[in-house]
Symmetry: C2
Subunit: 246 residues, 2 copies
């Protein structure tokens, strides 16, 4: 198996799903019409867990027809909506039972603490979306279809909750090191500057300035990291490797 | 006809639709499954105008089955997703023609300037959602169903784009006046303080502190305003009326 140098589409989809707790559910009404409605969710092994009132339009729809999909947009401050990372998770909703019901309840409450005030009301029920197919859009030019099995087997990126701060820190304090990475690790020997625009468990995304224009590239850690705790040592190794190359 | 003292559900729905340029479309796939997907839109007399690629999953869906709905969530910094104002607009999508096509194109580009880079590509087409039914959720306890005709006849609140700044200004500079409004215009003679939590063309929403607890109320201008330009004079009249009552 070839080692990856960046998150797979399945990992990207899991990361987007884990990045927030609200999205939009599509269901089918009794008249056969598609119905889009705002929902909150938690995740149980990547499967969205909804807490839905049977009195609500989408609750009535799900009770009669369990086919559903959920669109999730990753929170961002980017003003260009076409660049926003998003995912559609499509499948069939089920009412979990037994141990899975307990786990689903915990997953929903962990993500939506305010649900404590209604989760036990008689008209509310938990629904778990068994994801059968995923459409992932990671940004311009990054899109793919992912199977439910690949989605279930993937992990959300452990660095994602910390990436914005990590990137800001690198750009503020490590401008020369980022330029050296571009020059000596990414194949831009004439780089005049480089900015970090992304960080994940595989490495850093860089935007590189050269006399010929701007380029986008990546530099990889010595090995993928499994925890945010390993980010500092992985980037120190990158900085040292870039300096030795210089 | 009784005069209103607050926005109607139809006005609330139009205001939410006008508050942003992105939402989630629900369509039906060729296999009959509901499909939720991120979209950008402009508004033509309240009807969402989408610019959709026929290569995209939702574009293929619309070409085969024009039934659709769009869920829109109003941008907010409130951390409680259950409080977010949102709306579902349901109906049938059509390809506008002639003068309406030109107007729809202008409406989309006004809301989504970045669409200039693809709106004229051969695989992209404009779709206009003819809104037949609306489900409006304005916040806790504020929900209703609105007909397509009422939605079409209503206007988005002219103060909405300026409300956040207006509210911040009132709370920073007019604390005594807000308290006087609560005491003398809203029926809380023992109010110890009041905070403005909303502003629209009909008046202000106040949260009132009293020795008995917190209450939520509204105070209305002398007459509804039709423009942000009239907000200052309307609130000055309110301040004066509250002071005279004191």
């Amino acid at each position: 198996m070839a080692s990856r140098d960046r998150p797979s589409p399945a990992e990207g989809a899991r990361t987007i799903a884990a990045s927030t707790n609200s999205g939009t559910l599509a269901t089918i009404s009794s008249a056969g019409n598609p119905w889009a409605s705002f929902i909150t969710y938690g995740l149980l092994d990547g499967a969205p867990v909804l807490c839905v009132s049977s009195l609500a339009e989408h609750g009535r729809n799900l009770s009669a027809d369990q086919r559903a999909s959920i669109s999730i947009v990753s929170p961002t401050s980017d003003p260009d909506p076409q660049a926003w990372a998003r995912v559609t998770l499509a499948g069939v909703a089920e009412r979990p039972v037994g141990a899975e019901l307990a786990a689903a309840r915990d997953a929903h409450l962990a993500a939506v603490p305010g649900a404590t005030s209604y989760i036990d009301f008689a008209d509310f029920a938990l629904w778990l979306l068994r994801v059968g197919r995923v459409r992932w859009y990671g940004g311009y030019g990054q899109m793919d279809v992912v199977t439910g099995a690949d989605y279930a087997a993937a992990q959300a990126d452990p660095l994602a909750p910390h990436a914005a701060r990590a990137i800001a820190h690198l750009n503020a304090d490590q401008a020369e090191s980022l330029r050296d990475m571009a020059r000596n690790l990414a194949g831009f020997p004439d780089a005049t500057a480089a900015t970090c625009t992304g960080a994940d468990r595989y490495g850093l995304a860089l935007t590189v300035s050269t006399p010929h224009g701007t380029a986008h590239t990546r530099v990889g850690y010595a090995a993928p990291i499994d925890s945010h705790d390993d980010f500092r040592s992985a980037t120190i190794e990158l900085v040292q490797r870039a300096r030795i190359g210089a």
